[in-house]
Each structure stands twice: as C-alpha cells, then as structure tokens.
C-alpha cells in the first residue's frame, strides 16, 4: 500500500457497515447483531491505534504543522467556486479523539452486551450504537465545515434514536424529542455561522480557512459574530447553559447510552468542535456596527462565562438530586462547563485533556451506576440502596476510582486535567480571578455531591430489602469497568498534554519528562491552582462525610429549606422554559390559528364561496322561465341603453 493513511477510512466506515448489516439483515437476532457491532467497534479501535503508532507518534510526520489528509477523497459537492470534498483529516487532535471514541465506545458496547441481554430490541439498540460511533467519527475526521455539520446532525439523529430506545415509555419518547429539539435550536446558530464564514471567507475547508485567517482578516467585522454563532452549536450539543435542559432528561435512555452520550460522543463533540475551530477565536475580535457596544469583549469571554455559569449551576443542582443517574448527569454538565470555560480562557489544550480523562471516568461512573441499577432491578433512587460495598465489590472499587478521579485527587487522572484548567484561570494574561474562585467552588461542590452519592449508596446500612440480597454483575459488565478504571487512574500520566502540545494551538504551559516528573508537575507549575483544587476536593469530601456518613435520609432539606427545594427542582428551568414557550410560541400559535380560522378561512375561503352562492341565489329569482318576462326585461334593457346613449 502506497498510502497507508487511507486505512482511516476503515475506522470511519466499519461502524457504518455494521449498522447497515444489523438494520438490514440481522436485527431480529440480538446477540448476533451485538457481536457484529462490537467487532466493528473493536476493529476501528485497533486501526486507530495503528494509525496513532504510524503517524501520531512519528516525530518526522509532524502532523501538528502539516495535518495529513487521506489520499483517497471524493468531491461531494461543487457549486461554482464552492468545493466540498470528503476526505479525512489526520492530526494529533483527530487521532486522539478517534481513540477515545472507539476505545471508550468499545468498552461501552461490550458492557451493553450484558446490560441489554434481556431487551427484545437488542438488534436495533446495537444498530443505533454503531450509527452513533460512525457519526461521531465523522465529526472527528471532518476536513470541512459542511461535512462536519452533516455528521453533527447525524449525531443528533442517533442520540434521538438511542435516548428513545424504550419508546413505549412516554418519558423516554419525550426526552428524545426534547434532546433533538433543543439541539436543533443550537444547530440553527451553527448553520448560520457556517454560512457566514462561507460567505465572508469563501471557503468551508478548515485548513484553507485557517491559512486564510492567518494571512488576512477575511472575516472582517464579522469575526466576533462568527465565533458566537459557532459557539451556538456547542451550546446545544455540549449542553451548556441555557440549552442544558435536555441532558438530564436524556437519562431516560438505557444506562450504557447515557455513558456513551456523556463520555465519548455527543457532548464531547461540542468541546472537540471548539478545539478544532479554535483558530477562529484567535483572530482579533471585531463587531459590526449594530453590535458596537460589544467592542472590547471577545467571543472567548462569552464562552468562558457560559462555561463557568454552567459548571456552577449544574454542580448546585446535583447536590439535591436523588436519582443516581441524574447526579452523574449534572456532574457531566458541570465538567463540560469546565471544558468550555477552559476554551474560553484561551486554553483549548487543557479542555481537550480534560475531555479525554473525563471520557474515561464518566463512562466508568455511568457503567458502574448501570451495574448497580441492573443488579437492583432498575432501582435508581440512592436512598433505596446502601451498603452495596460488601455485595458488589468490583462495582464498588471501580466506582470509587471513578469518583476519586472526578473529584480530582492525585494521582488519578481528573486531578491533572482539572489542574490545568484551574491554572489557566489563574493565568495572568487570559485568566480571571473570579472564574478561578468559581472553578474552585465547583470543585468543592463536585467532591461534595459525589461523596454524598458514594456514602449513601455504597456505605452505611441497606435502606431497602433488595439491597441486602443484591449480587455482583457478570464479567461482561465488570470487565469493561476494570479496563475503564485502569485508564481513569492513569490517563493523567501517560503524556496526553505533551502529545497534544504538538499542535500549535493546543500547547500547554509547563513541560514534564518521565513519570515521576509528571506526578508532581502541577505542584511545580502552579502550586496555588493545584493546592486549592486539592483542598476543595478534601473539604467537599469532609462535608459530605459529616452530613451523609451515617444518614438514613437527606438532612439538607431541613437545613436549607426553600433553597434545597429550588436546587431539587433544578432552579425551575424546565418550568421557566415551559412558561416562556407558552408566552411566546403558544401565543404565536394561537394568533396564527385565529388568523387562519377567521381571516383566511372565514373571510377568504368562506367569504368568496358565500358571496358567490348568495349572488347566485339572488340571480336565480330572475330565471322565471316565462318568455314574456324575458321579453320585457330585454325591451327594458334596450330602452335603458338607448336612453343612456342618447343622453350624452
């Protein structure tokens, strides 16, 4: 083979082929379909590994400077000067992301084989998983904005299919619709952004656009608007405030789907997009005349504060949730807020690093939670669990590893990636002390709600008869847990920052060689960030132990009163949106209905019909059939004409 990079097409197309085979031929046989899907996913993973070994780790290939494109490509669309070609982009970023997607995805698929064993629609489920993997890989390898947008929408479709997998349940159907519609809202802005960039710069090719923006100010005064519009897509897909409402509801899907959405795909797509298009934000921001009041702000400021607000709000909401999956969902929101904030602080590298580590430990946490739910026959309330530690040792140990990683305790992965973000907030040039304080507060809250979950569900005494007789899940489910736990533990130390640093835009502060160096790097590079992050985690854990160590029921509602109620109801966002929709959308619908009923149908259609019919009825009276009446009328008409002509 002269062009070994062409095997990247296999990574992309294998899941698609698996989906096609499953949906067309083998859907009825769930176990066989599962096998096809898992094999395809694993093969994609292995090929991604091979690609990484061939190009990513090869210093001479220098993908950071010259991203590789597959030699095999085809023109998908050519309209005038616009050319959209389908080829795959290989650089450090896409190779890493492909590894995360296929790796974590494979673990989740294997786990699903155990989790969905009794589901009669297992074939359809695995078809959906394959489609999801394919769409996400499409985003990862995309070389132009059009291709990116197509796969972006495909991710939306496949998430709709999977969230609504148990469509017989009304809640699942509603959640799927909600996720789809909220995403559409953000995608609308994204599409406008793409059109704007195409219109101003004349190209949708990422590489071409980047070169163009380096040389000229192709976006002119619209650079700020373009940045914000692109960010709109991220708002929807990565569930940032104010479009975060779909993510917790998406918990209605099967638990492995939640793991997939929250870890490797979907929400990661938003952050990946920001990193991929980060060069747009490096141009000096300029605003058109009507938005002149924004002068002095850059889109990055909006991004940073949106991320910070999401992180804080979601962490607060998580404190008072009782559903094990919902706690994890809000924790994902909060961590996504961190990543988006990091991009906003001009540090896309740390955001990407956190995305990778988060993919490992969040997938682990969801799968472990799924193991608990599965063992307890779909019980999700943490106040009906308790003392699972002794009965489910593997789940317990892995969940603990995931929790510690999420809370950011060294030497687990979360500590290192979170530390980079905290350090970015402290940075004298781009940082902001307010955001740093916020991020530390969120770290403390994270630790608090995660250990609340651990203490209530896994320690203490059984709060439910079923929790006393529960049994550990089978190896199909615990195996992926162990693998993910291993990576959650070490992902911070295997050199992802150095690897990503090969890309010019994703460079990291500080440099470390060797394992021992990496272990202590955060303390050397930014001791304040590392120290406060660690302190926040410990404080949160201690507070959780004090309140929930032996609790039989939640003591917080009594202590906080109304505030706890507000937190439990998620700040009433759903209700506020409901009201807003009724005020605007419903009012519009009612006006349109009134117009349709009375103006168009009443006046227009029925009016024309009524007038004609009435005139007809009146004129019918003239048709007597009597010859002499006609003769008389004729004569009278002739006389009238005569008189009228002679008068003038």
């Amino acid at each position: 083979m002269n062009h070994p990079e062409n095997i990247a097409w296999l990574v992309l197309l294998l899941p698609l082929a698996a989906m096609a085979v499953i949906l067309l031929f083998t859907r009825a046989d769930g176990r066989f379909s599962a096998g096809i899907s898992i094999v395809a996913s694993l093969a994609s993973f292995v090929i991604s590994l091979a690609l990484l070994a061939m190009f990513g780790l090869d210093k001479e290939a220098n993908l950071g400077q010259y991203p590789g494109l597959t030699q095999m490509a085809f023109d998908w669309l050519a309209v005038g000067p616009l050319k959209v070609s389908f080829d795959l982009r290989l650089d450090y970023l896409s190779l890493l992301m492909a590894l995360v997607v296929t790796g974590v995805g494979s673990a989740i698929q294997i786990y699903s084989f155990g989790y969905m064993q009794k589901d009669r629609d297992m074939g359809r489920y695995f078809g959906g998983l394959s489609l999801f993997t394919f769409s996400m890989l499409g985003i990862v390898f995309a070389t132009n904005l059009v291709m990116l947008f197509i796969f972006w929408e495909l991710v939306g479709v496949s998430s709709y299919l999977l969230i609504g997998h148990w469509y017989e349940r009304a809640a699942a159907g509603d959640a799927a619709k909600k996720a789809f519609l909220v995403n559409r809202l953000g995608d609308f802005g994204f599409l406008l952004g793409i059109l704007l960039i195409w219109g101003m710069a004349g190209t949708v090719n990422l590489e071409g656009l980047q070169n163009l923006l380096q040389r000229t100010e192709a976006l002119g005064t619209m650079s700020g608007v373009a940045g914000l519009l692109i960010f709109c897509g991220v708002l929807g897909k990565s569930a940032q405030f104010p479009l975060h409402v779909w993510l917790p509801d998406a918990m209605e899907g099967p638990t492995p789907v939640s793991a997939l959405i929250h870890a490797a795909t979907m929400v990661a797509a938003g952050v990946y997009l920001l990193c991929r298009l980060y060069f747009i934000y490096t141009t000096p921001p300029a605003w058109p005349e009507p938005l002149a009041f924004l002068a002095g702000f850059s889109p990055l400021d909006f991004i940073a504060w949106t991320g910070g607000a999401t992180a804080l709000l979601a962490a607060l909401m998580a404190v008072q949730q009782n559903d094990i999956k919902r706690i994890l969902a809000y924790s994902t929101l909060s961590q996504l807020g961190y990543m988006v904030m990091a991009v906003g602080l001009a540090s896309p590298g740390p955001a990407m690093f956190h995305l990778c580590t988060h993919a490992f430990f969040k997938a682990l946490l969801f799968l472990a939670a799924g193991s608990v739910i599965h063992a307890l026959h779909h019980e999700q309330d943490i106040w009906r669990m308790g003392a699972l530690r002794k009965r489910m040792p593997v789940t317990w140990m892995t969940f603990l590893v995931g929790t510690l990683a999420l809370c950011g305790l060294p030497p687990l992965s979360g500590f290192y990636s979170k530390d980079f973000i905290l350090a970015a907030a402290l940075d004298s040039h781009h940082g902001s002390p307010a955001l740093f304080a916020l991020a530390v507060a969120v770290a403390a809250l994270t630790s608090f709600y995660m250990f609340r979950l651990v203490f209530v569900a896994f320690l203490g005494s059984p709060k439910n008869p079923a929790a006393e007789t529960v049994r550990e899940s089978g190896w199909v489910m615990t195996g992926p847990l162990l693998v993910l736990a291993f990576f959650s533990a070490v992902a911070g130390l295997i050199g992802i920052p150095e690897y990503l640093g090969g890309m010019k835009l994703l460079t990291f502060e500080g440099h470390a060689e060797g394992l021992a160096d990496r272990l202590i790097e955060p303390f050397r590079h930014s001791p304040l960030a590392a120290g406060s992050g660690l302190a926040a985690a410990v404080i949160g854990m201690a507070a959780a132990w004090r309140l929930y160590g032996q609790a039989q029921s939640d003591p917080l509602p009594q202590k906080l009163g109304l505030l706890a109620q507000v937190l439990r109801q998620k700040f009433y966002f759903d209700e506020i949106y409901q009201g807003l929709i009724e005020l605007t959308h419903e009012a519009l619908a009612r006006t349109a209905d009134w117009l349709d009923r009375w103006i168009i149908s009443g006046l227009g259609v029925r009016g024309a019909h009524g007038t004609t019919e009435f005139a007809g009825r009146a004129l019918r009276l003239l048709q007597t059939g009597n010859l002499q009446t006609y003769a008389f009328l004729f004569a009278a008409g002739a006389l009238l004409l005569l008189w009228w002509r002679l008068k003038w």
Partner: protein
C-alpha cells in the same frame, strides 16, 4: 300638408311599440308570434321610408330579402308551434316554463 319622413317613422315606431306590447302582454303563442311579425314590418317600413327619402334603392332591396326570409321563418315557426301544441295540448306562454332552473 305634405307627408314627410317623420310621419313614416312615427307610424313605424307606433307599429313597433304595438308589436312589443303584444309580445310582452298577450298570452296566446300565436298572437305573440303575430306581434313579432308586426315589429318586423315596422322595421321594414322604416327601411323603405329611409330608402325613398335618400333616393337609393338598396333599402328596398333589403326589405324584399327580409320579407322572403320572414316567410320561411313563419313556416318554421308555425310548424314548431303545431308540434308544441300536439305535445302539450296548449299554446299559452305561461305553460311553457320548463327552461326555468
């Protein structure tokens, strides 16, 4: 008193109005038909009068044609009326309203 064009025209007008009133008011189909002939002849009279006063003959030639055609028309009209009477046993215009909606 010499007889001028206006006298002829007034007679023609009176004849026409008589015919028209007959068409509008009389019930019997035969009488209505005769009234129509009256109106036709009123027009003939006017034509002949104009022709005479203009010293041109084409008006009178026209009248010959009209009389010929009217004779043919009467033959067709009377035949229709006889057929109608045979079918309906009536020659009254009030009875002939089947064209009404």
């Amino acid at each position: 008193m010499s007889v001028g064009l206006e006298h002829y025209l007034v007679v023609s007008l009176l004849l026409f109005c008589l015919g028209l009133l007959g068409v509008i008011l009389r019930r019997n189909l035969l009488v209505v038909y005769m009234s129509i002939e009256l109106m036709l002849n009123a027009a003939n009279l006017a034509l002949v009068a104009f022709s005479r006063f203009n010293n041109r003959l084409d008006g009178q030639v026209m009248v010959f044609f009209i009389i010929t055609v009217a004779a043919a028309e009467v033959a067709v009209g009377l035949a229709l009326m006889v057929a109608l009477y045979r079918r309906r046993q009536s020659a009254h215009v009030e009875d002939l309203t089947t064209l009404k909606l």
